[in-house]
């Protein structure tokens, strides 16, 4: 049974459809990644799920209860980590955690002991008494994350929690999130980092221009490209088109074509060496042919016609 179910979520700001009929669900002990470029609608989706915005249409169901039928009940189950640092820079790390614990309904004693636990888990105990403004970016991100965990939420909404921090700090946070998942927390994780989604998420939804274009496990998404291999052909392709090559469209699916590069996957079960021979025999001056495993970027490329990093 899913802990969070989103059905046909829709939100428009004037003429712009920020979120357009988005549906997905997150199960306990699962990290569901919402992957998309900046402006794709990830934050608006999270804002609607957490009650910061009211959807124009659609429904958010938390633990089998529609969110808006009892918002406070839903909020008790959730923990939200906003993309921006939502902490008090003048206060110490401990004071921030204790304050948000009290706001989450913990008694002073509970908030104190839970804060100690979290500081330990986030490896911030030695800096607990320092003002947050003296922290590094990674430490601030960890406190930002910890502030949402005081009341042990069953459902955690993480909105790009690793933006703007160094790789080591990012790894620490990802490890922490993995541990949360292991404890049974359902996690909705938005990101525009492909690697994070690939490493962390059991299922991934790809979102662009407010629409959920595809979802599934990494394997399922890769399979959409026709297997576990992609061929990258580097050649002078300015004056030519795959449509003019005899039977090419029946043998290969074009993922991307630029003036210098053609990315394709084989249609049907074919031997890679046969495919390579086929590509080298094309009526263009081939400079290089490579074989690679398909990434989420390739999936995104196939779905949107552009790279996620653009």
């Amino acid at each position: 049974m899913s802990l969070l179910r989103v059905q046909g979520l829709f939100k428009a700001f004037a003429a712009i459809r920020a979120v357009d009929s988005v549906s997905f669900e997150v199960r306990p002990g699962e990290i569901y990644g919402l992957l998309g470029p900046n402006g794709a609608g990830k934050t608006t989706t999270i804002s609607m799920i957490s009650g910061l915005l009211k959807p124009d249409a659609g429904e958010v169901i938390v633990a089998s209860t529609p969110f808006w039928s009892d918002p406070q009940k839903a909020k008790r189950i959730m923990g939200v980590v906003p993309q921006e640092l939502a902490i008090y820079e003048e206060l110490t790390g401990r004071e921030n955690l204790e304050f948000w614990g009290a706001m989450a309904g913990l008694s002073s004693g509970e908030a104190r002991s839970r804060t100690t636990e979290l500081l330990e888990a986030l490896t911030l105990t030695d800096r607990a008494k320092d003002a947050v403004k003296t922290y590094s970016g990674g430490m601030k991100r960890r406190i930002n994350l910890g502030c949402a965990l005081l009341h042990r939420p069953k459902l955690l909404l993480l909105d790009e929690p690793t933006v703007g921090i160094d790789p080591q700090a990012r790894l620490n946070i990802l490890e922490f999130i993995r541990n949360l998942r292991a404890s049974g927390t359902a996690i909705l994780y938005t990101t525009h980092y492909l690697e994070e989604a690939e490493l962390l998420c059991q299922r991934i939804g790809i979102i662009d221009h407010g629409r959920l274009l595809a979802e599934g496990s990494l394997k399922e998404l890769q399979d959409r490209l026709g297997g576990d291999r992609l061929f990258v052909l580097e050649a002078e392709l300015k004056e030519t088109s795959p449509d003019s090559w005899d039977g090419f469209r029946q043998r290969f699916r074009v993922i991307q074509k630029t003036e210098r590069q053609l990315v394709v996957s084989a249609i049907g079960p074919r031997d890679p060496s046969e495919c390579l021979k086929d590509l080298l025999g094309l009526p263009v001056r081939v400079e290089n042919v490579m074989l690679k495993r398909p990434s989420l970027n390739d999936v995104f490329l196939q779905l949107t016609g552009r790279e996620l990093r653009e």
Binding site: G51, R76, P82, E84, A86, M103, G105, H151
Partner: protein, 450 residues
Amino acid sequence: MPTAGTPRSPSDGARRWCHQLRVLLAKDLRRAWRNPLPLLINLLIPLCITGLVGLAFGGKSDSGALGRIRFALVDEDKTILSDFLRGSANQREGGKYLDPVILERDEALRQINDNRISAVLIIPTNFTRNYFGGREVVSLELIKNPAQSIHPAVMEELLGALVTALNAIARNLQSEFPDWQRVFDGEGGYKQVAGLIERAGDKLKAAQKFINPPLIVYEKDAPAASAADALKAGAGAKNNTKKNDPGAGVFGFLLTGMAGMFLLFLASNAMTDLQREIRQHTFARYHTLHHQLAPFVAGKIAFTVLVLVLSSSFLLAGGGLIFQVEWRHPVVLAALALSYAFFAAGLMAVLVALIPDERKASALNTVVGMGLGLAGGCMFPPESLPVFLREQVTPWLPTYWFVATTRNLQYSAGEVAWLPALVKLVLLSAGLLALAAVLLRRRFRMGGRP
């Protein structure tokens, strides 16, 4: 599993509300403590202005009076009469207030340029001859130091009094002047001088019934002096503060005005913290935990009121200690300050609710605070304001209700009707806070997302 904000019973709900409010208040106070500069600036500036303006009106002497006026006396006439005028300038009572230095014109002008003296009084050549001759208008020349304001003005007034006295003598003893002129020229013998003195004595004796007792007298009733008089009285009144009238004194007058104005600025600073929290996304984070935003907003208003109560205590009690102002009605003053704190918090809450942009709200709040302060008589005595403002606008302003009432409490001798001002402030505060609640509710209807 904790249950955030889910009251099981009304009393449980109230308890949770109070707990939340306490935690929110503690958080805001801690943040203010860690970043005290904005508060300190708004607390120290009014004290500095009070000190500076008070000293400007009060001078620096230990006696608390204006201080001795140092001026140059240039005697170009060099006669017995000019010697007499020169010598009398610093004798007896004059010596307490005047500090004349006898100089040549060039040196006197150099010293006034160097701002070492307040004025130059020149007795011109032939002053005595022309005065006793009575044939042409005689004049004394006064050059005032443009870099000073109070002392040169006092010198001008004193010179006016001297001229009046000389005119009075000229009108009454005109017939004796030729003889006096001869005596001053060294021509008369002692018998002639004795005769002149006797005749002058007879004339003064005849005039005594017109002079003493005087037909019009001036008596100063210190407690009944108006608030504005205190400002005019300068630190002379301050000196009396300890001995006669605890309310008198320019510092008390200024302190209440400064408090009236700067409490508005402090309210603006505290209330716009709500917008800072929106900008810093902590408000949104709170909203992810609680569907109802009222406790957070109420916490901010409570924080603003608390800051204002502490600030008014600092300004009025602390300032009173610094400037030795003994408040005559501390309890009523405290009640008025409390109601004014609620008014200021309510006003700024309305402005914050109306203007979502933090910077615009901050700028507008300052303008509104300054406007209300100036038009309400915080910076100047209301009597000095333009007629239209004074009669049509000022009486309607809460700043005026607070400032005028506290000043009247301090400076008026009789019963002061402070209750109407208190009631008006309380009612207005309640109205503003209710309006702010409605506006903020409407503003956050769609959530706390910035």
